[in-house]
């Protein structure tokens, strides 16, 4: 008999519920007059991020000596879910708070921690992810960006792709090949902190299908990185990246990207919905309620120092599936022509969600890759 998955119960500590009330109060003020926004963790707003930093809501779980606040992962979870449910524009600091900061905390040098973490926690220093390349998406180990040792540092040549917010960010965590491929293709990669304002970096916008500019192509030409900007151990990049992904995949953003549309759908359906609408809404909420409990459970396990890579993959697969269903269910219930510029909040949110939905099951690991991970967990691979 298999005991493959573990989703332990989580009870939120009182501190987390107190925080929830504070966050709601803050959002009520900050979000007053803002229309509903779907996929709000791709909305970049440095002013909002600085306010978050002032309140101690970035790098919450990090040690105080690095600008953190030594709060629990469960408190952080509650903060994040409240922000996402309200559609707050959290994109600027999101990646740094979620994975770059924790990466530096775990693998970085003391100097790196002292330099970067307090700035991140203040909501003033933004990071992007330098993993994907033109010919390396799901097959990350095939990256071709190369760093070659030279003059007490490294010279980088290569191209990163689908780099969200590179044009706004200060730094990138770059994954580059630092040794020739041998029989183990996961060896010989290294992570670096890269200053995107330094010479040798060219950032070109790539508009998405909604006409928005989040993605970029980032080209490095003879770009020099000093040795002290290596993150962790030379050639150990793969293992460090895998560690980062557990954080990247398990959060509430993997089920709440389309939540504001559910809220608008409930509003549009009114207090006496048709039987069809009540059933469809009830079904979505049954999924979301369960997903939230699963995701919370993963947060609890991360807090306990476990590495629930498998469970994170399950949450992301099911979560994004549900997120993608939301606009379809909404569309079929409320007959309207989707228009992102409509004055009607439901129509506009529906249009926006519809256009962004394809990305949900691609970013952070495609559905197929996640299911491959789950299948490995079942002992099939």
């Amino acid at each position: 008999m298999m005991q493959t998955f573990r989703f332990d119960p989580v009870e939120l500590p009182e501190a987390a519920e107190t925080l929830r009330r504070d966050v709601r109060k803050f959002l009520e003020k900050e979000m007053a007059g803002a229309g509903p926004r779907s996929d709000s963790w791709s909305a970049f707003n440095p002013d909002f991020s600085r306010k978050m930093g002032e309140r101690g809501w970035i790098g919450m779980t990090w040690p105080k000596q690095y600008g953190g606040h030594e709060r629990t992962a469960l408190e952080r979870y509650v903060l994040l879910e409240e922000l996402l449910a309200a559609g707050a524009p959290v994109s600027a600091h999101w990646v740094a708070d979620r994975q770059s900061g924790p990466l530096l905390l775990r693998f970085g040098t003391e100097e790196q921690r002292k330099f970067f973490l307090p700035k991140i926690a203040a909501g003033e220093c933004y990071f992007c992810i330098g993993m994907s390349e033109p010919d390396s998406g799901s097959d990350l180990a095939s990256i071709r960006t190369r760093a070659v040792q030279s003059n007490g540092g490294w010279v980088v040549n290569g191209t990163k792709l689908w780099t969200s917010n590179a044009h706004h960010c200060n730094y990138m965590i770059l994954l580059a090949r630092t040794a020739e491929k041998n029989e183990n293709r996961h060896e010989g990669m290294t992570q670096f902190v890269v200053d995107l304002k330094a010479p040798g970096v060219k950032i070109r916008p790539i508009k998405n299908l909604a006409g928005d500019h989040h993605f970029n192509e980032v080209v490095f030409t003879d770009y020099y990185i000093p040795n002290e900007r290596i993150v962790g151990t030379l050639h150990n990049g793969w293992r460090q990246v895998m560690n980062e992904l557990a954080f990247e995949r398990s959060g509430p953003e993997r089920l709440l990207s389309a939540f504001t549309l559910v809220v608008e759908l409930v509003r549009a359906a009114g207090p006496e919905p048709s039987e069809r609408a009540a059933v469809a809404i009830g079904r979505l909420v049954a999924h979301l309620y369960t997903l939230r409990r699963m995701s919370l459970s993963v947060a609890g396990m991360l807090q306990a120092g476990l590495m629930p890579e498998l469970e994170a993959a399950v949450v992301k697969d099911l979560g994004t599936l549900c997120e993608q269903e939301i606009p379809e269910v909404a569309r079929l219930l409320m007959d309207c022509e989707p228009d992102p510029n409509a004055s009607d909040a439901f129509v506009a949110t529906l249009a926006q969600t519809m256009l962004y939905a394809p990305s949900f099951s691609i970013r952070g690991g495609t559905r197929e890759i996640l299911r491959g991970i789950i299948a490995r967990g079942l002992g099939l691979r």
């Binding site: 008999m1 298999m2 493959t4 998955f5 989703f7 119960p9 009870e11 519920e17 929830r20 879910e81 449910a85 939540f259 559910v262 809220v263 608008e264 409930v266 509003r267 359906a269 009114g270 207090p271 006496e272 919905p273 039987e275 609408a277 009540a278 059933v279 469809a280 809404i281 009830g282 079904r283 909420v285 049954a286 999924h287 979301l288 309620y289 369960t290 997903l291 939230r292 409990r293 699963m294 459970s297 469970e311 399950v314 697969d317 099911l318 197929e368 996640l370 299911r371 491959g372 789950i374 299948a375 967990g377 079942l378 002992g379 099939l380 691979r381």
Partner: protein
Amino acid sequence: MSDARETRQLITDAAHRLFDQYVSREVQEKAEAGTWPGALWTALEEAGLTLAAVPEQFGGTGGAVGDELAVLRASGRYATPVPLAETMLAGWLLADAGLKVPLGPMSLAPTQRTDALSLAKTAAGWTLSGTAHRVPWGRSVQHVAVLAKAPGGNAVALVKAGAAKVESGANLAGEPRDSLVFNNVALAPDSVSKTGTTPDDLMQMGALMRAAQMTGALERILDLAVRYAGERSQFGRNIGKFQAVQQQLAVLAGQVAASGRAVESAYEQREQAGDLAFAAAVAKARVGEAASIGAGIAHQVHGAIGFTHEHMLHYSTRRLWSWRSEFGGDAYWQELIGRRIAKAGADKLWPLMTGTAG
């Protein structure tokens, strides 16, 4: 928490050992043909598993409600052909009304929203009238706990099963689903008690227990499908080596994981006296959907052999196909959730989901 976790694991292990010993293929087949698995039932009763969460003062084992979940999940995993959930449900209904719970297999009525049963006062006690349709294991049990309308409110009656006229029926898994006709059945005064429990409450608790059993059944079909994919060879390799099969099994595994968490969350709400109505509705709706998706995948992976009577997969899948519709199907519970949200309003959706609606 870790103590409760350990207790639960002990109970799960004990239940698995017991079912391993007593739920053989032969017992399954005979039970479906109408032979009561007496040895299995006696073993369950001796292990104190039939009334796991009924307080001791009412005749139960006095365990936590989570113990009930552990036993039901295990029984679902083994497709155990006895009215274990029904006995627990009847025990809950009786104890909640302050009635002593007897030993022996029990069932409950009504299980259908359209059934109406009534109690009338007489000089000697009470009489019970009405027909209860599709009563699980109606012909096999010793007692039925009946929730009926009485003058001035609802009451619970403990009725000897022999007092009813039985019309046999069955669900897809061959589990008895019988009509019980109560024709002015005379009851002693001490076998009836007023209750605050409504038919909706009973429905909710029945849904929760079915969801617990279904979670066990889903775990079982995942086990079977993964094992089969590792044994069956086509095109020169195990079919589990094909990505198309792996991806399907990953979907099944996700449904199993979601079901487990949905049911556990509902039991947590019950244990903490939280919003059980919401969580139980979510559990039955979510697990019902998982049952449909999961059974489909398990059969697809098994191919033709899984469609035979000889293979054991159908003991689990026929139960899933029945149970998902018992005590309210997916859509019944989905609508209930949807209406509750609509009534609360869009801005209360998130507080409802997080249990912070106040």
